[in-house]
């Protein structure tokens, strides 16, 4: 496998994990524009635990779970105040959270401040791939359980979900905290693969991109984040490749412009994201169960 391709696949794995972290709250109708904040927490926590020189010097087998637990705890705690807000307010609150985390980290001397922090243990590509696969399987399983059903119900109509006995508050907090833990895991893996973490890399643009993976891929099924991450990772590279092959420099230079416009057009064509439940049913060979009435079919 060529180095370039491996590099791309590493990015794809990380993007997929991040995307699942944003997907879980999004599947229950909450938009999280603070992905960078959770990723920063996970990356710095595992870096601090693992680093021999500045930190505790614990092996990567421990540092990654510790980072995941730490991020899960933080997101669980902030879930309560943040989930009081909804809609636009929640987008703003998560965004503000990410900015506060970034602002705090670059001022903490023991975390290397603005220089960032080295991470000792290296996580090779295949390890990353295995974890990504596990995360994807976990999310697919989750969406197939009663809990996943309740999440989708809350997404579609909160009051109806309440009437049918779903504990809306608990499920929303749970989805938010689990999503936070997944992003912490992604951040920890990032640190262990590149062996260096730097708060400036986890900026607002990263949060924006991750939210876009999810919303473009579709929040209805667990396939959405994968499709979104694939699209976002490979389409710019495809433009770069085409530009290099054909010698048309504008293709390479303008790849993100084209990409931004593709996002806009995709939203016009498929406002619910690329992968929807209807699409999956069509691919897997028709509806297995007939809807009760034509109105129930989407």
């Amino acid at each position: 496998m060529s180095g370039e391709l491996e590099g791309l696949l590493v990015i794809l794995c990380l993007n997929t994990i991040y995307a699942y972290g944003v997907f879980l709250p999004a599947a229950s109708g909450q938009l999280n524009l603070g992905a960078a904040g959770f990723i920063t927490l996970g990356a710095y926590c595992s870096a601090f635990v693992n680093s021999e020189l500045d930190g505790l010097g614990v092996s990567a087998w421990m540092s990654i779970p510790i980072a995941v637990l730490f991020t899960a705890a933080v997101s669980f705690l902030i879930a309560f105040p943040i989930l009081r807000t909804r809609g636009v307010y929640m987008v703003l609150a998560t965004f503000a959270f990410a900015e506060v985390v970034a602002g705090l980290i670059i001022n903490l001397e023991f975390l290397g401040a603005a220089q960032g922090m080295p991470v000792d243990a290296h996580m090779p590509f295949y390890g990353l791939a295995i974890v990504t696969l596990l995360v994807a399987l976990f999310c697919h399983y989750l969406m197939a359980t009663r809990c996943g059903l309740a999440m989708r119900a809350i997404h579609d109509d909160e009051s109806v979900a309440t009437l049918f006995g779903a504990n809306v508050r608990m499920i929303r907090v749970w989805a938010f905290a689990t999503g936070g833990a997944l992003m912490g895991l992604g951040g920890a893996l990032y640190g262990h693969h590149f062996n260096y973490v730097e708060a400036q890399n986890f900026n607002i643009l990263l949060s924006i991109y991750i939210l876009l993976y999810v919303l473009l891929g579709g929040t209805q099924t667990a396939w959405g984040p994968v499709v979104g991450a694939l699209f976002f990772t490979f389409v710019p590279e495809l433009f770069r490749y085409l530009g290099r092959e054909t010698g048309e420099k504008w293709l390479e230079d303008g790849r993100f412009v084209a990409f931004g416009l593709i996002i806009v057009i995709m939203m016009v064509i498929r406002p619910e994201g690329v992968v929807t439940r209807t699409l999956l049913e069509r691919i897997t060979g028709g509806r297995r169960r007939q809807p009760a009435s034509p109105a129930a079919a989407e």
Partner: protein
């Protein structure tokens, strides 16, 4: 004491820029319940257009034409015109692809997500258009007005900054008067109240919304122009760095509240400059965004607002 007073003045001057962007945000969010992330992009586009006109960024040919027509010291006039025209056109394009498609109702969360995603797509597209043409490094100009300033006691006032602050406050006051007194303003307020009813009462929603988009676009374009003139350094990410801070100001004043946005914008400018003064530049994000987080959690209607979002304000 004088140093502190000077910082307060600087903060208010910076706040003048935030006020306009915050009002642009608040106008769209109050009327359509939509957090318009193209506003940072339009701010950046206007700022960069201004830079390009003054520093010859459009290429030697156009630069020569500008020199002939206006003369070297007056090229900022061309910058203002180009920035306003470009941003108005861009606003109309953005309106087509965000609001028009938002009208169709989908699920609860996606109802807001659709225009949000489109506007983020535009943000990426605009930023990379500028990066593709002029790179991502800081772009600087010499201020066309030099260091013109006057003193009041020991405090120095830069004349362009004072004019900018006065101009931005005057524009925002004019806007709020427009919202209250004119036919257009009444239509905007009725759409904010309830678009369906507004349509029944004879408001042509499809025509009013583009107008509001252009007004919001022009507000942040003027903010971008003033930013370039006063701070002389811009880059492709200036929208992310500067215009997003205005969001904090907007929330402080209450979403959809123009007067709140004025106070909030000035306050955020003051907070930013004073926290740099007391705690250093690297910490500046924490007070601003921490304050935003606190306000969202404790008092999401802002300090002055008391109505739910999207329900008739201005």
């Amino acid at each position: 004491m004088d140093v502190l007073l000077q910082q307060v003045v600087n903060g208010l001057m910076l706040g003048g820029v935030y006020v306009m962007v915050a009002v642009a945000f608040t106008l769209v969010i109050g009327m359509l319940n939509f957090l318009n992330f193209t506003i940072p992009a339009l701010f950046m586009v206007a700022a960069v257009m201004m830079w390009a006109a003054m520093a010859g960024g459009f290429g030697a040919d156009i630069d020569a034409v500008l020199d002939d027509v206006l003369g070297a010291p007056n090229k900022w006039i061309a910058g203002v015109i180009i920035a306003l025209v470009v941003v108005s056109l861009a606003s109309l394009v953005i309106e087509r692809f965000t609001y028009r498609y938002m009208k169709a109702k989908y699920g609860d969360a996606t109802e807001h997500a659709l225009p949000l995603v489109s506007s983020l797509g535009f943000l990426i597209a605009f930023e990379h258009l500028v990066i593709g043409r002029w790179g991502s490094d800081p772009l600087t100009i010499d201020s066309p007005f030099g260091n013109a300033s006057f003193h009041l006691g020991a405090v120095q006032f830069s004349i362009p900054q004072v004019i900018s602050l006065a101009l931005s406050l005057a524009i925002v006051f004019g806007l709020s008067l427009m919202l209250r007194k004119t036919r257009l303003g009444r239509a905007v307020r009725s759409i904010a109240e309830r678009p369906d009813t507004a349509t029944l009462m004879g408001v042509d929603v499809g025509r009013i919304v583009p107008v509001v988009y252009v007004i919001a676009g022009l507000l942040c374009a003027i903010a971008g122009i003033l930013f370039t003139i006063n701070y002389t350094t811009v880059d492709a990410y200036i929208g992310d760095k500067v215009a997003t801070v205005a969001i904090a100001g907007m929330v402080l004043g209450g979403l959809g509240n123009v007067w709140g946005a004025i106070v909030g914008g000035l306050f955020v400018g003051l907070l930013e400059v004073l926290s740099i003064h007391f705690f250093g530049a690297s910490i500046v994000k924490v007070p601003i965004w921490g304050m935003l987080l606190l306000i969202l959690v404790m008092r999401p209607t802002g300090l002055f607002g008391h109505t739910a979002i999207g329900k008739g304000k201005f």
